[in-house]
């Protein structure tokens, strides 16, 4: 009975260590998928062109407070032209700001975007009521506005906003449409539902008093075309801005695909770091195995003596205890893997019931690593106790009280 308890305690350390490794790696993998899903939801075939040079992996110049005004509407038109960027299927230009928007007595402080008619296509979004801007309205300083889903609710509650007049920065704008609810996209600076939209030139001239663009978003037909598209975009802009040395670029080109790659790399590093920690915990479990195996040898000294008396050689005893150690350790590994997979599955079920995109993923590397490590632990930490068992003299063993 005591022997059973001892064996159970021995492998408990290994079970916990292995289960931890499997669960950590599974969580890491699923979390990675969750993040990538959130980000790629907004369009992995979009390229962002930002004013000001910046490192691809770092924040844009604007975030650092650097204001660059060289990106223009004419640049947008050039990039939309298949003559310069054959891979592009559409592009939209943006300026951003905040302003007070008022309807009757309701006044809210809201973010607004001045953008082009191509917004709907580039952003892959739907209109709920009414319509979006026309190409003409984009440049003819029309005072029309399209409301994001939440802003429409905030200003108009249950009344229909269409054709009503609201004041934006004390100027009258006619509401021509409401966008469908989009939800948070996680990436990008603004949340569409909490934004109101006005035509690009209207925003530039009548609200902000500028003539440059905040940024451009360009859509390619397929993500595989991104590298060529980016090359062509850069070439086009350098020519238009008279830049001969790429080190002097006054713009940045970023795409979501490379952002995804960066995030994957970072989360991979995190996952393997956690795996290392898990492996260390397994090592601790191994030390536990050794101490319990040593205790086992001590408690079974008379048995060892008896076996030697009837003819077991030193190598027989060494093999017996080593195999026991490996078996116990490997058994712990199997149980740990089963528990690890089961717990990861439970976590996935709970996360999915909370509406997270949490796929049930098991890292096969973690299972292989866990299996190999548990066998190795059994071998390494069993060698010393097995050696002790082998060296015991039969007579001393039989005399042991």
């Amino acid at each position: 009975m005591a022997a059973k308890l001892r064996s159970s305690l021995t492998i408990l350390g290994v079970i916990i260590g292995v289960a931890a490794v499997v669960i950590i790696m599974a969580i890491g993998k699923s979390a990675q998928a969750l993040i990538l899903d959130q980000i790629s939801g907004i369009g992995s075939n979009l390229i962002a062109i930002l004013p000001g040079a910046s490192d691809e992996k770092g924040p844009p110049a604007a975030a650092l407070g650097i204001s660059v005004t060289t990106l223009k509407y004419s640049d947008l038109q050039a990039l939309r032209n298949k003559k310069y960027v054959p891979e592009s299927s559409n592009a939209a230009g943006y300026v951003l700001g905040t302003a007070a928007a008022t309807y009757n007595s309701t006044s809210i402080n809201t973010s607004f975007e001045g953008t082009t008619a191509s917004y709907m296509d580039v952003e892959n979004t739907q209109i709920a009521k009414g319509r979006f801007f026309t190409k003409g309205e984009e440049t003819d300083l029309s005072r029309v506005t399209v409301l994001g889903f939440n802003e429409a609710k905030d200003l108009f509650q249950n009344t229909s906003p269409l054709n009503k007049i609201i004041k934006i920065k004390n100027q009258n704008f006619t509401v021509i449409g409401i966008l469908a609810k989009r939800g948070s996209t996680g990436f990008g600076i603004t949340n569409q539902d909490d934004t109101i939209f006005v035509p690009l030139k209207t925003a530039q001239k009548l609200i902000l008093g500028i003539d440059h663009l905040g940024f451009i978003r360009l859509k390619v037909k397929d993500a595989s075309l991104i590298p060529q598209a980016e090359a062509n975009i850069k070439a086009t802009l350098r020519e238009r801005h008279h830049i001969t040395d790429p080190a002097n670029d006054d713009f940045s080109v970023r795409d979501i695909a490379s952002a995804l790659e960066t995030i994957t790399q970072v989360t991979d590093v995190l996952r393997y770091f956690l795996l290392t920690i898990g492996a260390i915990s397994l090592l601790v479990g191994g030390v536990g195995i050794m101490s319990i195996m040593l205790l086992a040898v001590k408690q079974r000294i008379r048995e060892i003596g008896l076996r030697k008396a009837v003819g077991a050689r030193n190598s027989d005893m060494q093999a017996q205890f080593l195999i026991e150690s490996i078996f116990v350790s490997f058994l712990g590994g199997i149980i740990g893997i089963i528990i690890g997979v089961a717990v990861s599955f439970l976590i996935a079920v709970v996360a999915q019931s909370l509406q997270y995109t949490w796929p049930f993923l098991i890292s096969w590397q973690s299972i292989v690593v866990a299996s190999l490590v548990s066998i190795t632990i059994g071998a390494i930490f069993g060698v010393y106790p097995a050696h002790i068992a082998a060296k015991i003299s039969p007579m001393e063993a039989l005399r042991y009280e």
Binding site: R302, L306, V310, N314, P394, M395
Partner: protein, 245 residues
Amino acid sequence: MNEEENFPLIKTQNLSKTYDNEGVKTRALRSASFSIEKGEFVTIMGPSGSGKSTLMHILGLLDRSSAGKYFFENQDVSTFDDDVLAGIRNEKIGFVFQAFNLLPRTSIYENVELPLLYDQNPDNNNSKKVMAALHWVGMEYRKDYFSNQLSGGEKQKVAIARALVNSPNIIFADEPTGNLDSVSGLQIMKILQKLNNEGHTIILVTHETFTAEHAKRILQMKDGQIVSDEPIKNRRIAHDGELLK
């Protein structure tokens, strides 16, 4: 063709054993010299601390002497390494211990089979050998029982079966009746005498005079030395119904 063995099974010359325990030396055995022929029934007798157990362990190849020579089947055992000694114990020696030393959580069959599992020259006849040994001690119907289900006397019978299973030349019995009641003890002595009648060499170690008198020759030990070596004068024969005092 077997050669006539005209050398003794066991021969010792000035056998000594000294233990060194953290600097304290104990002379457990001093200069023992004697021979034992095949087929003898010898008792090594003495009080606690007389060195009889030490001597038995050395004769049974469970321990090595500190000095002197021990010839087993005319070969100097000091030339044998641990593995060779293990092989001899496996094939030529059988042990019966006071505390039985059966493996726990193991069936009777598997207990008796144990020496065969370590046989370096196995011959696939394990089942036959095990059942023959169990039959010899009358325990074949209990082969699937576990040791904790048996009485003391039954356990010792199983231990004897284990000692016999690989057809050894010599059987060492160390206080075989020490943990038994009178009736069971008697049964065990009867078995040992029967084994000797059939040709097995028996070496019995005990501190009880009554038990010792079932042998044919007695080596008396005191303080690590053999003080006398004589045949038994009034030998006791174990019958059913007789009680060991």
